[in-house]
Symmetry: C2
Subunit: 83 residues, 2 copies
Amino acid sequence: MDHAALDNDALDPLYVQLAAILRGQIERGELTRRVPAVKALAQQYEVAIGTAERALAILKDEGLIATSMGRGTFVVPEDERPK
Amino acid sequence: MDHAALDNDALDPLYVQLAAILRGQIERGELTRRVPAVKALAQQYEVAIGTAERALAILKDEGLIATSMGRGTFVVPEDERPK
DNA sequence: AGTGATTTGTGCGTATGTATG
DNA sequence: CCATACATACGCACAAATCAC
């Protein structure tokens, strides 16, 4: 349950896979408030920092999360999300 | 008029500045059909390839350009653009 | 009051993969 | 087969903002 979970030979690139994982956690309510730091995500899923950042950029673009420099990354409450 | 044009100490980051330049060229019709290759843009504006890629990613997101692997990057005709 | 740790943001450089021509 | 060009991935460094001490 804390395996790599990411497959470099899969159809989708790593950052898309990671975004999908986190999106699922958010939508299922398994991930609330605070999102682990980029560095932590990178270590946990064994990807480069840049790859984790790209994953977060997707979710940020979707309005699922919001970032604040120096503070961290946070899950946007469901009733404040677009769409 | 082929100076750097980019200022690392400006308010906006380099990739945003570059995106703005290209957006202006497209909107004024100075840039049509083909967009210079990422590598060429990086050399011309003296930025890293990754920085030029980020600039193009913005315009791609806006629907101003479209990329095709192995072929290049192209300006989307005005009547096919979103918005 | 300032110093250091943490965290996001930007930027550079490189290597490799994939598709096209 | 080889050149071109975009896409992904890694690693690193530093800046900027925040926070704890």
